[in-house]
């Protein structure tokens, strides 16, 4: 058992941390005030810097142009990037593109690789992933209404999706659709790549979420597919393989999310501590002298440390033994870390008083937009029930 990291990794993390703090934190004000699109030029200049530093695509293997890190190592990078709402974007490892890249790397045909994957890796385009449907409980993914029917050489898609994150501005969408309603429940669906300029692919709206519809990368779309036709070869991973492929996306995806949340936690924690030593209740009596505040700091420190160790252990397990070995553990960290995140943000806000609920700090942005952390990718309750059932199975064998 060794909780240390190599000097090389430590040095890279320090470099990235410095870059994030120096270059990305100062962008927050304008990002939150003017929206994502206005900042794109600056962000692309920063992406160039990241490429020059050799940090581009930190989640991918070296032979795909990435940094060749283990999942645990990338997790530590992801934590640092999580300190900024655009950290992952600037390093081109943002959701949902990161997951789409992984799926394409594994399953893309030569054509798909050239048309979709390569520009994605280069950061020339963005993509999205169309899974969730408003009419069906996301917690039970086998209930999908979107259909894809083969008509000659084309798939014809009809359906209704929402929470298709970052669809606004994306070039293509990987759509989960039922291709064989009569198959076994886990073999009904397939993934089909749909360019977003295909006729019938309609971005109904960016859904207003917690007070803002957002735009571009900072958005979640409602999508309607009406008689959308794409070439037969746009299927990804084979007919009926939709769930199997989606499953692969999940393990590393949850590590990414969880480590990003821990990055948010650390940032909020840092802000809470700074506030505690600078805000005075009366001259010479900073907030941090109060035990209530001390309690929040201590509990947050403990919970964040616990969360990080939990996630890194699961990342290490995936590195050692693959996704399947860790399929239950990813449920555990999903709900555990999402709840730590909510508590830490809540305490950081309370420490800031009235300032905490304004948009003058980034805390309110996260408080609002990460409330979803306990819902998306499966609500806490689904993960808890799943974990418990898996544990109890061992007792009934």
């Amino acid at each position: 058992m060794d909780f240390g990291i190599s000097e090389e990794l430590a040095s890279m993390l320090a470099g990235i941390r410095d870059f994030v703090e120096t270059e990305l934190y100062p962008l927050e004000g304008e990002l939150l005030e003017n929206g994502f699109r206005a900042s794109i030029p600056k962000l692309h200049a920063l992406r160039q810097r990241v490429k020059e530093e050799g940090w581009w695509l930190p989640h991918l293997a070296a032979d795909h142009g990435g940094l060749g890190l283990s999942l645990a190592e990338f997790g530590m990078v992801s934590e640092v990037l999580g300190g900024s709402p655009v950290g992952h974007y600037v390093f081109n490892c943002q959701a949902p593109d990161a997951g789409n890249m992984e799926v394409l790397l594994e399953h893309a045909t030569d054509h798909q690789r050239e048309a979709f994957l390569e520009p994605l890796l280069a950061g020339e385009i963005r993509s999205c992933f169309g899974m969730t449907e408003p009419e069906n409980a996301g917690s039970n993914p086998i209930f999908l209404s979107t259909r894809a029917v083969l008509d000659g050489d084309e798939w014809v898609l009809d359906g209704h999706k929402w929470f298709t994150s970052s669809a606004d501005g994306a070039s293509f969408c990987i759509v989960m659709a039922v291709t064989d309603p009569d198959a076994h429940k886990y073999q009904r669906a397939s993934m089909i790549i749909v360019p977003t300029d295909t006729p019938g692919f309609e971005l109904v709206r960016n859904i207003p979420v917690m007070g803002e519809a957002g735009e571009d990368y900072f958005s979640h779309a409602e999508i309607r597919l009406t008689d959308v036709r794409v070439p037969k070869e746009n299927i990804l991973g084979g007919e009926g393989a939709g769930f199997a492929v989606a499953q692969q996306r999940l393990g590393p995806g949850r590590i990414h999310h969880c480590m990003r949340w821990i990055g948010i936690c650390e940032r909020a924690f840092d802000m809470m501590c700074k506030r505690a030593v600078t805000r005075e209740l009366s001259p010479g009596k900073p907030l941090g002298h109060k035990q209530f505040v001390q309690g929040w700091i201590a509990e947050s420190r403990a919970e964040i440390d616990a969360a990080r160790l939990m996630v890194l252990r699961v990342a290490w397990l995936i590195d050692q033994q693959g996704d399947y070995a860790a399929r239950v553990d990813v449920s555990t960290i999903k709900f555990f870390v999402a709840n730590v995140l909510q508590r830490v943000l809540d305490r950081a806000i309370q420490t800031h008083g009235a300032l905490g609920i304004t948009d003058d700090t980034v805390l309110s942005y996260w408080f609002r937009h990460e409330r979803g952390a306990r819902i998306y990718d499966g609500p806490d309750e689904v993960h808890k029930a799943r974990l418990a059932r898996k544990i109890l199975e061992k007792y009934t064998d």
Copy 2:
């Protein structure tokens, strides 16, 4: 001990509830989407309806044009109004006007009565209350930087306020300012009425709070006062009486807030239950069959009931014995109910899944804007410490 209410009151509450559900709930979509100002014409028409029904100014005595309810009875009205974000506004008992009315009724000179109170009671104007300052911890109100100096027949005010709620569109502001820095700490400040069109009274911005700056009644302003001159007679309640008068505002004000929060809780609870019986996880299996959801419903029911009884008892105590007798109890209900509110909203959102974090329901609005409930009017921690110290005093006498 009698937990019942008169048939007359029950009948009025039923009438108001019906009005709120029928007339106000349907306005929510456009209010949240288009902002407050666009809805003003509709709201004023509804105010007319309220006057016709005889429900105008439900918080005031009959001889001031109000309903002549006890504080406990008004509390029950306030709960019903709280189900809509504009309930109190439509009945002209919204904060901060309600508190300003009470202060003016008690302390206004004839001139002040005519110039400020009467149009307020008539619903022709709105007002605001300038107390909190960004540079000073609100939890310790004796630290105020705003100064008012008498220069001949005029008060000259200089200072910086924020979270001056609903200042945008208000006709006047009751400003808390230090008039005698050398007096005893509770006698330094006075309340001065400042018309918002006075030169030097600058509305710097509507502070973006949890993602929206809002506008008009739905806003919290940052205010700068620079060499603002108002007539000497604009002082309210006498020099040095600022804290004493503010204190009077607080008791009933907290009852209003707490009952409004309970109204929000009941609305969220109702939405949670409706979701539980209509959202199906699989055909014929509604969400409400799940124990996790049952747990939220049961705990919310218990906590809301407890919160209501707590507040009504304190309202009754004020009715019987006055503010002073209940000065500790208003601290108790402040933190107790604000926390029930946050938990109930959180559970209602979780029950709604992805829909819960969208602005397609009113839950997200409250989740964001009522996060402040644990901060404004004194954060939880100040109220808890105060309550405990008062209790322990009795043990050391």
Copy 3:
């Protein structure tokens, strides 16, 4: 709505409180150290005092020799008695006798009245109630294994009970037994009175609970019934009426328990406050200056007040409209108050530090023995699920 009480009641409560504090608190040391039996002579002398004061049987109607209080009024008495582990006993309104008295008053034949009820009312004997069985989940009472078969003029009982509280020293047991296994599930069982000296009625052991088996009134027995024969007329309330009669026992019974728990809470709260002002962390710095302790005091104060109002409202509802109207509300208060109790005791112990876990105070006794409060009479989970289902029923009608 009126949260006040009559001067007469206030005066009686003050008298009882004084008696409990002066006479019963000082007995705690020896009770906890030497067991219940050694104190019986003193307790019986105190019972005599209670009779002389006119406080005997405070839960019963005046025509049954009681005080003729409403349930809400008795609730307030029960709270005061709850401050001592023997308060209810000394006033002869202790569980399970109080419930047995109520059932007998309602259903006893003349013979039963004379043989069982009258000595119970006089305080000459004690009784017990045999319901729970180790082999069957108590949360689903329709599963009972104990059988009673009519053989001529006698019921022949066979079965296995546990948590038959206070069976040690009791003169008779009201046994819940299946008399018709083929009846509708709620009509299978009957209540049968079994004198504890009947052959085959075996007190297997006083179950060691949280470290002590206890004795007499302070005990919970395991009982085995083997071919136990009692006269046919010992049936109580009619064949198949077991559940219906048990149900009647529950409503008032839960009020009694809940108010007793609140009495424990107030006692623990008082001890916590006394400790906070007397224990010094360093000279002149009492524990109560610490915000952590202030937080516990404030939260406990709020929760206890809430709990009391909740219970009194339900008691009032039963007084006004009967048990059936309050059948859901008794579930609500059961889990709500039991959890407040556990939290308050936990905080009181933590405030006492090492002393808190010793038996030098009564806190450890309650911490141990009231852990069961969240389990007996239906665990929290059963009450929450039941409450939620009842609420949701209204949404599906």
Copy 4:
């Protein structure tokens, strides 16, 4: 970063686990029923087995007759031993002897080594540690009333201690006493070895804790020292070194405790799961089908895993960099793990229903006796405040 362990360690842990489950679990019934002393012969036979297996003194270096494990490795052993209330005892690594051994190994003179340490290592005697005093808040150890005055060649001790764990049956006590009241606050106290048969060393009582006074190793004594005389050379670690030496004891001691608690958690978790699959609410419907129970299992799994990683990381840090580097982290794990322990035990009891509060399982023993975990070795609040202050120091430098 490597979360794996060597095959050698895994194999030893499996062996020890098997031994603990097979040999120690079955002793619980009689231990809890008959007390510790009655089981000593059996326990000593088992100690012999442990020596034969080569597992004796698992916490010590090989050259002191121990297993030569790192602290992290011993932590894993300690977890396994924690599954039984006598696990550590049988392996001779029980508190407070383990800490006393470490202190003696570091500081003992030749005489002390021979007279006290060697028989301790051999398991021939037991010892205790007299620090806490009833009159002084343990959370602020500089306030000690026990005095030791040099009189010729002898220390003369006078004082009053309590919670001197396992003093009953111990051969000597390491007593913390003030030797120079005028020194700097951290240099006032010294450790002095006092054989328990020294005149004036009086074991006043085994303190009844949570319902039992216990005996021998299972006890906490109140001690009075009256004119107790021991040779001058019985001082341990030098005059005024009491706190410095005590501090050394703490780091590893907290690892031991925390890992023992995790062992208890795992045992309780295992019992909870077994109960969940075997207890039926109705035929074919085990408790584990209920989401409430699933929630407890999932949350417990997450929290125990988090706790273990937290502690092992701190153990590893001490192994790598020594106690001082980890002095803040040991505060973190102390309160974090103690609270996980309390929650897991509480859930395990609730899952067992009425059985859970009986002494028919070991759960009630731990629920009672580990309530102290949040108090001894510094209450949660002291550790939280300390951690927060240390963190905030870095922000004010």
